[in-house]
């Protein structure tokens, strides 16, 4: 049924691609996602899969080729990071609005500048309004499992939207850890064949993809796209439930870790959540009611469920790994705070900027965040500005090492 082994996050995604055997993969190399197309190209050369690999001349072309392949009726994927995805910008929107179920492995890395190759969420967070479904992972196991579920969500007749499967650059993409791989046959049955209803190469059917829409029709198309994103909510949960029946792995919109009775909660995305869990356990041993809400699905945003899951807490830290230069905090801070308002939560909140350009976060850093939450709830501290965690120059003293 399964194999226990060890591999990096990039290898795990490549293994998922091997099991899925998609029709087409256009890709252009960029750190730290480069290994994924490398591994896939090797698997093709070895005859393990028969995916058509298209070595394109840029990421704009990679996404354009994926759009062409998907519109033609093929199951298309790509992989990229950071400025690679930034170069796809224009066509990300084309993929989503053309309702093409492309799956992208995004290995999160900061956008310039300063020029840097390390983990940050500014690439995918910048694309949060592009109409792509976004699913994030804490570790190699989760990015593997998420990738296996992506096509089922994207291709579902109620959805027809592209999906990006995100993991933190280097921190999980290049770290070798234990992982459980699922057997090929049940996974192939689960993923299934892609059988689109409408596509460009379909005989006796003509259609246009991406034409100009005049004002009387354009807004209706956008509303239809927004409705598809709402319907994706149920599909994501249904696919996760079916995946659980095969693998025993449980996935939802988010994971609550010791959250039910938590007085102090951290909300975060990605690899830092493993570090937060260690901090939560250490604090619980000392009698502090600490908890974590780890967001897996950021688009569609499960605001109502998040609000409900958090509203009993006394104080909440919302952790952003992406500056939005709004002068108010990051994207996760804005969305979670709005969700708490709608849930009529009384909790104190603070939006914390952390881990930019791969800045390391230790268990001790997170314990300090919980200590600040206690003080915030007790009125001993307040945050006029959104603080940075672990800044070298000591700005926002209370959150520096």
């Amino acid at each position: 049924m399964s194999t226990r082994t060890r591999m990096s996050g990039n290898e795990a995604v490549a293994h998922a691609i091997k099991q899925i055997n998609p029709d087409v993969m256009p890709a252009f190399p960029i750190t730290p996602s480069t290994e994924i197309p490398q591994f896939v190209a090797t698997m093709i050369a070895n005859g393990e899969i028969d995916t058509e690999f298209i070595p394109v001349e840029s990421e704009h072309s990679a996404m354009s080729a994926a759009i062409g392949a998907s519109a033609a009726g093929a199951r298309a994927i790509t992989a990229t990071s950071s400025c690679g995805m930034a170069l796809m910008w224009e066509v990300l929107y084309v993929a989503a609005s053309s309702r093409l179920p492309i799956v992208m492995a995004l290995v999160n890395r900061g956008l310039t500048g300063p020029l840097n190759i390390n983990a940050e969420h500014s690439d995918s967070m910048g694309a949060r309004d592009s109409g792509w479904i976004q699913i994030y992972a804490e570790n190699n196991q989760e990015v593997y499992d998420n990738f296996l579920q992506a096509h089922r969500i994207a291709e579902h007749q109620d959805v027809h939207l592209p999906v990006m499967i995100c993991q933190d650059g280097f921190i999980t993409s290049h770290a070798v850890q234990n992982i459980t791989l699922w057997d090929d046959e049940p996974i192939r049955r689960f993923v299934g064949e892609y059988e689109p209803e409408h596509y460009l190469l379909k005989e006796n059917e003509t259609m246009a993809v991406g034409p100009y829409a005049v004002a009387p029709y354009c807004m209706e198309a956008k509303k239809a796209q927004a409705e598809a994103m709402k319907r994706a909510r149920k599909v994501i949960l249904d696919v996760a439930e079916e995946f659980e029946q095969i693998t025993g792995q449980h996935y939802g919109f988010f994971e609550g870790y010791r959250l039910e009775d938590a007085e102090y909660a951290v909300v975060a995305i990605g690899s830092v959540c493993g570090t937060v869990k260690d901090a939560v356990d250490a604090l619980r041993e000392r009698g502090v009611k600490a908890g974590l809400l780890k967001i897996r699905v950021f688009r569609p945003f499960p605001g109502q469920e998040i609000g409900e899951a958090l509203k009993h807490c006394r104080a909440i830290a919302i952790m952003d790994r992406s500056e939005s230069y709004s002068s108010q905090g990051g994207p996760l801070g804005a969305e979670v705070t709005a969700a708490l308002y709608r849930a009529k939560a009384a909790a104190e909140t603070v939006n914390i900027m952390y881990g930019l350009s791969g800045r390391d976060v230790r268990v001790e850093d997170m314990e300090q965040v919980y200590e600040q939450l206690r003080k915030l709830a007790d009125g001993q501290v307040s945050f006029a500005e959104y603080p940075y965690l672990g800044l070298r120059d000591g700005t926002n003293d209370c959150l520096s090492r």
Partner: protein, 193 residues
């Protein structure tokens, strides 16, 4: 054996410190452990200082930070002792392993007062004698397994033979040299304090 062993590797780009860290994670997995092996990435190039890490445990490893208070440190290139604070945070009940041709009296003053155990290995001599090439990471890996006690030595040698046999299926002559390098390193590594 500890329930969690944390190891930090210092080397220069091209010397195989990252490969050694990943190989150690690999072989520890084969021995039934929970593992995490990862490099610290930056603008790497040949000769620049690099750092890589291992966590080896009997329990699930969830933390994703670098290692600041390692149980053991391996230094693959002794010229780093002048420029990198290799003993930073190193636990006094742990140990440092250094690849060097120099005698202990020249190395010890460079360790900034570290009071724990110090092991020296002339990994260059070991790999030149067994592989005929300068690949110091293979002997350093064996020596690290010995001093860190993260697994039984016979289990380590058995699992390394399996994985090297797979890796060098088409180059059996390289397999023999590597196995000899591992065994010779286990004999040659010396505790100097």
């Amino acid at each position: 054996m500890r329930h969690l062993t944390e190891i930090r590797w210092h080397g220069r780009g091209g010397q195989g410190a990252k490969t050694a860290a990943l190989l150690l994670a690999d072989v520890a997995f084969q021995a039934g452990k929970q593992v995490q092996g990862f490099p610290e990435y930056g603008p790497e190039r040949m000769g620049a200082p690099i750092t890589a890490y291992d966590r080896i445990s009997d329990r699930e490893i969830r933390v994703h930070s670098n290692i600041y208070e390692p149980d053991f440190v391996a230094v693959v290139d002794d010229t780093l002792l002048h420029t990198v604070d290799v003993t930073a945070g190193l636990k006094e009940d742990g140990a440092i392993l250094i690849n060097t041709v120099k005698p202990a009296e020249e190395i010890l003053p460079l360790l900034k007062g570290y009071a724990g155990k110090v092991y020296l290995l002339d990994a260059g001599k070991v790999c030149m004698a067994t592989l005929g090439k300068y690949f110091p990471n293979t002997p350093m890996l064996a020596a690290m397994v010995k001093i860190s006690d993260v697994m039984e030595i016979d289990v380590f040698l058995r699992e390394m033979e399996t994985s090297l046999r797979h890796k060098f299926a088409r180059k059996p002559e390289v397999l023999d040299g590597n196995l000899k390098a591992l065994r010779l390193a286990l004999e040659e590594v010396k505790e100097c304090r």
